[in-house]
């Protein structure tokens, strides 16, 4: 009893470890070892091998459940988006009207330039690699699992069965979001541009300045490796740079929209210009995406 000085015998002080205890600890060791073995095999061959195939079939088996759960949750999510969208609708409408006027003028100029470019390419017998969007077939699909706090990946409901392969670019209606890093028969894992390891060669279409798009602070990107003497202005559009050298093809073709320049400022201590980019795609609300499958195999 508590509060009384009960003298325990030697046996009571150290309770005998029963068979249950040993089995329990053995189970823990076995499970931890099994997890480590799986992790090692998976780490050594993340996108091929028997384990990858089994995982792919497992993911296909789980897909209907994920899709069902996502469909059940969708009305609630849509309702939330609708209500949150209403709060800023008036100011957004004004901003969008202003943008439409600007884009309309630019579209007319672009149409004329595009026509000229096609004629010049024909005259020069200009050969080029895959160009976006004409050389790609979009595989429209839904997102069935979303990025967590430690990983910046999503799972989409289409895989190798739809022609998706590793490194296939993935976009939303607004712009680039990432590329496929692991593909199963009916699902694929997409690593987002918000992943700390992601680096996409990009170009400022207004001034022709090139750099690397990396994750930046507070949901923005940084256009890295831009020389200090380069001219970049607020509002400039950033798109993928595409393949520059045939020997080193890029995952992304030229021209996939990424975002607009939010600010560009030199720093005394930094080697390069600090260019902050606001992404076109909304990474907090990824719903429907398109994987760009190349027509040229």
């Amino acid at each position: 009893m508590l509060g009384t000085s009960v003298q325990r015998s030697r046996n009571e002080r150290r309770p005998p470890r029963g068979r249950n205890t040993q089995l329990r600890r053995l189970l823990l060791v076995v499970l931890v070892l099994a997890a480590l073995v799986l992790l090692t095999v998976s780490f050594r061959s993340p996108t091929s091998g028997a384990l990858h195939d089994v995982q792919g079939y497992g993911a296909s088996a789980l897909r209907p459940f994920e899709v069902a759960a996502e469909r059940v949750a969708r009305p609630f999510r849509d309702a939330y988006d609708y209500v949150s969208g209403l709060t800023g609708a008036k100011s957004e409408n004004k901003k969008l009207r202003s943008e439409v006027r600007t884009w309309r003028a630019q579209a007319m100029a672009s149409a004329s330039a595009s026509h000229q470019l096609a004629e010049l390419k024909a005259l020069m017998h200009f050969e080029e690699l895959n160009s976006f969007p004409k050389d790609y077939t979009p595989v429209n699909t839904s997102v069935i699992s979303f990025p967590g706090t430690t990983t910046q990946t999503i799972t989409i409901a289409a895989g190798t069965g739809s022609g998706i392969r590793e490194n296939t670019p993935v976009v939303t209606a607004d712009g680039l979001i990432g590329h496929v890093t692991n593909a199963g028969p009916n699902t694929a894992q997409v690593t987002l541009l918000t992943d700390p390891d992601s680096a996409v060669p990009a170009v400022d279409v207004t001034h022709g300045v090139t750099g690397l798009i990396r994750r930046g602070p507070r949901g923005t990107f940084i256009l890295d490796r831009v020389p200090k003497e380069a001219v970049v202005e607020k509002g400039d559009r950033i798109v993928t740079r595409g393949t520059v050298d045939r020997r080193y093809p890029d995952y992304y073709p030229y021209g996939i929209p990424i975002g607009t320049v939010l600010s560009a400022s030199p720093s005394d201590i930094a080697t390069f210009l600090t260019v902050q980019v606001t992404p076109f795609a909304n990474f907090d609300s990824l719903d429907a995406v398109a994987a760009l499958v190349s027509k040229k195999r």
Partner: protein
Amino acid sequence: MTVVDGLKAAALLFVAAILQVSIFTQARVLHGEPDVLLVTLVSVALLRGSVFGAAGGFFAGLLVDTATLAKLGLTSLVLTIAGYWIGRYGETTGRDRGHAPFLSVAVITVLYAFGLMIVHFVLGEPTAAGSVLKGLVPSIVLNLILVAPVYALVRRLLRPLDRGDYATEVHLLG
């Protein structure tokens, strides 16, 4: 503890894993996100002990890694240890205590986040430690909100055991 209990626990964890990867990862509030799978695992481990905790953690982790095409074994490793540890707490000091589920979930949320970060770090994979740390307190709060309904549901399906059924090494006096 019976086979039926095992099947019930497996079904609970399966549903929780599917809901977690499909719905709950999107419900982000102030950088934090609720983890219904972790809360379910803690509830199962508290009510059925370390064996169910460890096996359930392994199974649930495998489901998550399979569904998200992540590296197999990564989540299993962390959840197995978490399930075992909470199971031991349930078998010993945590039994019959009203605050045990809340305390367990708060502690495990922190350890799980750090555990995943450490495994990613050991594998040489990038992980945004800043956003994990920023979202830690909101995640704890969100998980604590989930504890009451989830624990009640799990308790309804897995009735608490008698003291003698727990695999315990602690001898109570008196």
